[in-house]
Symmetry: D2
Subunit: 405 residues, 4 copies
Amino acid sequence: MDFGHSPRTQLLIEQVAAFIRDEIEPIEADYHRAVAAADDPWQPLPILGELRAKAKAAKLWNLFLPDDKLGAGLSNVDYAPIAELTGRSFIAPYVFNCNAPDTGNMEVLVKYGDQAQRDRWLHPLLEGEIRSAFCMTEPDVASSDATNMAATVTLDGDDVVVNGRKWWSTGVGHPDCKILIVMGVSDATADKHSRHTMVLVPRETSGVVVERLLPAMGRHDEPFGHGEVTFTDVRVPAGNVIAGPGRAFEIAQGRLGPGRVHHCMRLIGLAERSLELACERATSREAFGRRIADLGGNRERIADARIAIDQARLLVLHAAWLLDTQGIASAYGAVSQIKVAVPLMAQQVVDMAIQLHGGGGLSEDFPLAAAWTSARSLRLADGPDEVHRGVIARLELAPYLEDRS
Amino acid sequence: MDFGHSPRTQLLIEQVAAFIRDEIEPIEADYHRAVAAADDPWQPLPILGELRAKAKAAKLWNLFLPDDKLGAGLSNVDYAPIAELTGRSFIAPYVFNCNAPDTGNMEVLVKYGDQAQRDRWLHPLLEGEIRSAFCMTEPDVASSDATNMAATVTLDGDDVVVNGRKWWSTGVGHPDCKILIVMGVSDATADKHSRHTMVLVPRETSGVVVERLLPAMGRHDEPFGHGEVTFTDVRVPAGNVIAGPGRAFEIAQGRLGPGRVHHCMRLIGLAERSLELACERATSREAFGRRIADLGGNRERIADARIAIDQARLLVLHAAWLLDTQGIASAYGAVSQIKVAVPLMAQQVVDMAIQLHGGGGLSEDFPLAAAWTSARSLRLADGPDEVHRGVIARLELAPYLEDRS
Amino acid sequence: MDFGHSPRTQLLIEQVAAFIRDEIEPIEADYHRAVAAADDPWQPLPILGELRAKAKAAKLWNLFLPDDKLGAGLSNVDYAPIAELTGRSFIAPYVFNCNAPDTGNMEVLVKYGDQAQRDRWLHPLLEGEIRSAFCMTEPDVASSDATNMAATVTLDGDDVVVNGRKWWSTGVGHPDCKILIVMGVSDATADKHSRHTMVLVPRETSGVVVERLLPAMGRHDEPFGHGEVTFTDVRVPAGNVIAGPGRAFEIAQGRLGPGRVHHCMRLIGLAERSLELACERATSREAFGRRIADLGGNRERIADARIAIDQARLLVLHAAWLLDTQGIASAYGAVSQIKVAVPLMAQQVVDMAIQLHGGGGLSEDFPLAAAWTSARSLRLADGPDEVHRGVIARLELAPYLEDRS
Amino acid sequence: MDFGHSPRTQLLIEQVAAFIRDEIEPIEADYHRAVAAADDPWQPLPILGELRAKAKAAKLWNLFLPDDKLGAGLSNVDYAPIAELTGRSFIAPYVFNCNAPDTGNMEVLVKYGDQAQRDRWLHPLLEGEIRSAFCMTEPDVASSDATNMAATVTLDGDDVVVNGRKWWSTGVGHPDCKILIVMGVSDATADKHSRHTMVLVPRETSGVVVERLLPAMGRHDEPFGHGEVTFTDVRVPAGNVIAGPGRAFEIAQGRLGPGRVHHCMRLIGLAERSLELACERATSREAFGRRIADLGGNRERIADARIAIDQARLLVLHAAWLLDTQGIASAYGAVSQIKVAVPLMAQQVVDMAIQLHGGGGLSEDFPLAAAWTSARSLRLADGPDEVHRGVIARLELAPYLEDRS
């Protein structure tokens, strides 16, 4: 048992940390103020492009991708601490070309895309020339149960026809978003896990309409955004189907393991950043003749946050190690565990940090209000806590039920 | 011991409930969409004025004010269930001229204002012709400790000169906001509770600058808003001082008891509304072949919310009864108790309701995201939870410490 | 709305408080030490009888019984604060002849017993000459679902034959325990609520065996105890059936409302006592140069305990008032609410008090270890929390489900 | 980063697991019943000795001791999973000669004892011929602050004289307990960390009186027990001082790191065992027509328990790895973290398991009531949670406070 990082990981951690400290943090507050003040916040500010160019030049680019030719060849457990660092900033993941949902979409194309799909979509995504979205969740049904899905992906000769309404399609507001991966029912009579198909739909295809951009807890997260998108008789070539009809579940499963590790590690970075802000505030302000840190239960809260973060990080690293060493099937429960534990932990740590900041914690003068929204959303995105608890319980109870059957 | 309402209260409850159901709820979703889509959301929409006129005509107006000539003559315990009803809607308090901070400001003028102050400011506030703000909290210090306050109110002959920076001055963004009550240090050498003075500062006085309008958790709450306001050599007549120099603490204390009861009862209404939405959602959507209500721990969550709301309501009613029957001094601990218990309860109930709504809960399609912000803010406004816990503990421990001294 | 006590209740509160302070508290620690050291702790110590005689002489006797001839004629809401006071001591309820399960059994006989049953059993119970037990829960099934009950009460001519195994029959270890009320299935084919019958079984009847006395969390609560009791072809006259065959559910329901109010109020008294001990300890010991009260989050814990207790008390009083004014059917949800909220609150307050006492809190030098067991047990006795949450949720969701049907 | 066990650890895990499954579990329930029924439960039952002989013969003996001549040569991280296994049973630690406080006392003698002390006390402890106790905590002061300690260890020529009162001296009730390590003030004027001395006091020395055996939450844990011990002018040779006068703090620190890892891993084993029992019960009983597992929030509770246990285990393993690789000074915060997190987690998991067992969970028919007491006690033993939170917060805030000084 060894909790140390490999030398290569350690070096990358230092490089990424230095980049964030030297290049991103100094401009971050100004960047967010500029977005807030922009006439059109959906137009990405030039500084983002500049930072991305620097990151790419420094080879701190696509580090998420385990493929050692197309990406950095890092395992999940090696990439995890880097993901944590990027989570300290709302723009760092994008700067390093490591932001959701592009990461997951690139992984899908690496694993399941054919050569034509890779040439057309994967290459420009890896280069950062275009962005993508993932259209799965629907507004009119409880999407936590995928069998509720109503959108259809119908094969019609050489074409595929997509119909349906999706929402929370993250990133669809970005002007560079050129390709959507859409999941829909292709054969309602098939086995539950062979019923759905994933298809690549270019953003500009006729019949694709971004009906509105949805704020999450009041935030649009410009210039990325979360879209509600309708597909009305949208017709694309059958060659746009990924991996073949009926394979969407398999693809989704493979996509979700690493994706959840990334999400969770970023939240841990966010929680660390929030705890740092809390400590900074608690030691720099006074009330009733004492530092805020020394009032009431504040020190205990800080201790509890430290424990909660450290526990959560270890749980994610362990899940990543299981993914690396035993594959997604064996890591299934572990991945559900982190999905339950980490967003809730992050929400609570951020809430504590907000409280220690007083009114400032509610304002945009600190990244805490946005951090809270980020953590809260992840308790629903990729499946609500409760569904994951159901998975964990099913695995836990299975041997006892088998004994009885 | 009698938990029933008086006949008059019961009648008013029915009238207010009917008004909300018939006049406010039908337009509420459209209203919020219209504000979100407005070119200038800081211009109040005409519908608000129309509703206010109806409420006034129906004599459902200024019900908060215990004075039986100027207001409705209701005790705190009588008004409480009405405040609860208004809390179910974000606009109802304003419609009934019962919204903070105008309520508190009117009470201050009723209790402490002289005739000239009443004529000039109280009357138009009671009529709903103008709005007001209350400027107490400051950005540069931990304002939970009032002795940290840095703003100054300096008597200079027949004038008073105000200098300082305040924030979270709620309502200052509204175009009808014409008068600010500002609290500042007037005599730094005086006894801790005689050091501060409150003064009426017309919004348009030279030197008063609303530097910015602060979003709370990303929300501006237009057209009311929360302002950061600077006062630079702001000069007003000495006659604008309320109740005399050095009396700000006394005034603040008297203001806060009923104000906290109102806030808490409104939050209980908000929690009830959120629980209703949760029940509605839980019984109308299905996943995994069952109603959402019947999945996992959802029924237990709904039960816990019911218990939490009912406990909280009783605690507030009891505090209101103490205020009515024994006065603010005897109700001091009880008021701190509700200030700790109720916002936290409301935050948790709303969080549960959000979770049951899935992605919809994060959107603006339901009032839950705004409800969450409202509850969360109240854990800081009027003193953070931790300060109130300190008050409660001090009262609880006092007899034991006396025994030892 | 009036939270004040009636003059008579106020007077009784003062008398009971004085009796506990002057007669019970001074001997309590010695009493428990004497029981622990006794050769046979199941033999009641004489002091108990002496105190009971004094209480009876002072007319502080059977105060629980609402019947104004047989008891004190107090409503539930009037008796509640008295029950709270008795809960501060583990022996006070018995001293005042107000301890479970005798209270509930006496109520059953008052409401449902016929003249012969009253003469033979109720009178000596009211006089305190005998004790009783209530045999409902069974070891071999999940008794939270009464339809699981396996014991049978079979009418056989002029007799009734009882067979089955019960446990947690509280009080059965006391040498004065002379009568058991036993519930069993009498007609398995009847409607779910008419299937069971209650019958009076004298303790000494042939076939009644107390198999063992069960410790709860390691405690036997001598000389009362909790028994596991088997009934093997136990034959009693048919006249021992209470209210007639098939009426056990109805009787149980009527018994449980006030019984739960009593239990909960006693727990509130126990929580108050625990908080007092916590405050006493927190102000009398020092560590790291400060009073324990002033370390870390201890003051906040004390404040949270105060809030939790006060909320819980109001919830119980309100449930009692509903019972009094609207009957058990309307108070059903409220009674389930207190059953969930109060034992959990008490468990948490006691846990906090234990923690503030350090090692002493785990010992028998303070009543806290026993208090914890008492609170914890009540989360299971009279139905586990989860079953009551199910009742509350069912009531909460009913209107929404009706709308859809 | 590698979460796998070494081959040797893996082998030992399997051997210990097999021994527990084959030798201990089959006799465990009977053993506890026999103790409960014994005339003198303080006389160890012969089965214990037999099992110890088997374990010793199987070389599953003293596995805790890192010294590779005297013990098994396992690092903390290697021994941790074995400690977890032993924690599943209340007698397994003793069977493997790995129970507190003997483990810590043996480690002290290995690290700090001189040859004579080792010959006389360490050898028979390692052989399991005698037992020991550790006398540190005192009843009359808040012992969480060691500077409160009142007992004295006074050098007087060739002797040392011990005076004072200690309690919670675990193991002192066992007839084989022959040696006590006692800590007391030897030089009240010395630096805070050089004020105390540890001395070996044979149990039978004149002036040593076990005043009473203390139950923890009503349990005596016979035949080990927790003693309150007075030392009145107890005189032992100066050669019994461990490592020299004034070094008690240093010794205590070195003792506590591994000791806390052991305690915490055993609690994790206990929590695992409790979760297994909960799953067993939840799948084998039915109520309301469904398995208990399928009622209300029970599956979510089981999932939360799984997450909580796995997080806690990783935190302890990481702390053990820090101890192994960086020493106690660097692992100080990590050890405090596990001391806060693990007992609280175990208490909650056991509480959940109790609740799922209904009345059975409170009885001695399951090991849950005893498990609860074990977990609860560890929230106080070795320093209360709050003190450890204080340590964690101090470390967390230190860099911010340095920045400001």
